[in-house]
Every structure is written in structure tokens, then in C-alpha cells.
């Protein structure tokens, strides 16, 4: 069973408050992550690799926040692939939202 330890370790290593599924406190900077879909690769009619598609959302009130690059480097070091990154600015809240989509694969 995947307890997402390497993902959690990577995100906590950024030093930014990190939450699973829901942020209990929305500070100037925070990260929320959640599993959004199970992934499968098949061979010979059976799953050869499984993994998870993970949403990692970084919210910051700092313009041009370098923490986004730190997050990417920590994930890369942990062997977690970022497959998409979108950036959006929320007028109402003042947050810049970096929306990462990552894949965390395990064997079998």
C-alpha cells in the first residue's frame, strides 16, 4: 500500500505548511495535495505498474515566488514526475495558485 511517504517528505522539506485534502489554515503560503486517480499500465492482461495521479496545489501571496521552483526540485529529487503545471491568479483572494499534477508510480 502506498502511504505516499516520499511525497509527504518532499513537500514537508520545502518548509511550507502542507496539508492533505484540505488546508486547515490558509496562510500566506501553503500546499495542499490529494490523490485524484489511480493509474495502471498493463501487459499480458495484467497490471504491470500502478501509481497515483496526484494534485499538488501551492498557494502564495508572494509575486514571483521562488518556492514554486523549490517544490519542483524536491519532487524531482523524490522521483515524482510532474506532468502538468498551471498558474492562475485569484483576484478575490490575492493568491497565486500553482496547480501541479504529478504521477507517483510503484512496481506491480
Amino acid at each position: 500500500m502506498n502511504n505516499f511517504e516520499k511525497l509527504k517528505t518532499a513537500l514537508i522539506a520545502t518548509g511550507i505548511p502542507t496539508y492533505h485534502n484540505r488546508a486547515f489554515e490558509q496562510t500566506d503560503r501553503y500546499i495542499v495535495w490529494s490523490q485524484v486517480a489511480k493509474l495502471y499500465e498493463h501487459g499480458d492482461n495484467k497490471a504491470t505498474h500502478t501509481g497515483w495521479r496526484i494534485a499538488i496545489d501551492f498557494f502564495t501571496t508572494t509575486e514571483y515566488d521562488e518556492v514554486s521552483e523549490i517544490i519542483e526540485k524536491k519532487l524531482e529529487s523524490a522521483g515524482i514526475s510532474i506532468v502538468d503545471c498551471a498558474r492562475d491568479y485569484e483576484e478575490e483572494t490575492g493568491y497565486t495558485h500553482y496547480a501541479y499534477t504529478a504521477e507517483d508510480w510503484v512496481d506491480g
Binding site: S34, T93, H97, T101
Partner: protein
């Protein structure tokens, strides 16, 4: 958003052309079939994820076909009754905001839809080969 095209099938189309097939008609049929398969993936995933309120976004999913470029773009189009772009609603539901958790549902659309689209397009190609004794 999801886009399919026939450029990746150029060799297959060339083979059909060499066999005397009307490739423009066949590639248009393949594009339409693939577009319908992708549209079905969009609507099924929108419903599966519960992203239906008024139904405006669900009903707005259409294939925008460019026959000269042999491509089709399939995504929620136009605006709803309140003037909000349906593609924007899909963007927000996919990526989320500080108040809404994003579920990355469009990735599922593209994953399931692209497989179905290729199957649908291949069926037409295969039928055309069959008509010519292959």
C-alpha cells in the same frame, strides 16, 4: 483541451490513398468518429465527477472540426446563461482554487477518450481496408 488529429495517421491515410480510396472523405469520417468518442468521454466524466448543476457545461461539449488541418478540438464551448465561459468552468473544476479542490478530471477525459477515439478511427480505417480485400 482535448485535441485529436489525423496527422499521426498520415502513413495509414497514404496507404489507403494508394489503394484508391477517397482519403478526404475517409479522414473526415475518422475525425468525426474520433471526435464523437472524445465528446462521449467528456460528458461521461463530467457526470461521473458530479460536475453538473444547470447542465450548461455538459451540453456545451462539442467537437470543433478543422477539416483543412485535419484536427478536431473537443471541449466545453461557448458561455452559459449567466455569460460565464463553459471552458473556464471546466478549468476551475479541473485545477481548483483556494476555495475549491481541483480533481484533474480532464486528465481522465483525455486518457479514456484518446483510447476510444483511436479505436473509433481505426474501425473506419479497418473497414475501408476490408472493402478493398485486405
Amino acid at each position: 483541451m482535448a485535441e485529436i488529429g489525423t496527422s499521426g495517421l498520415a502513413n495509414l491515410i497514404k496507404e489507403l490513398e494508394d489503394l484508391g480510396a477517397d482519403i478526404d472523405e475517409i479522414s473526415d469520417e475518422m475525425l468525426e468518429a474520433g471526435g464523437e468518442a472524445m465528446k462521449k468521454a467528456w460528458t461521461e466524466e463530467i457526470k461521473a465527477k458530479g460536475h453538473v448543476d444547470t447542465g450548461d457545461m455538459l451540453k456545451s461539449v462539442k467537437a470543433k472540426v478543422n477539416k483543412s488541418k485535419k484536427t478536431a478540438e473537443i471541449y466545453p464551448q461557448g458561455k452559459d446563461k449567466k455569460g460565464v465561459r463553459n471552458a473556464l468552468k471546466a478549468f476551475v473544476l479541473h485545477y481548483g482554487t483556494s476555495n475549491i479542490a481541483g480533481d484533474r478530471f480532464v486528465d481522465e477525459v483525455e486518457s479514456k477518450g484518446s483510447d476510444a477515439a483511436v479505436d473509433a478511427m481505426y474501425e473506419i480505417y479497418s473497414d475501408e481496408l476490408g472493402k478493398r480485400g485486405f
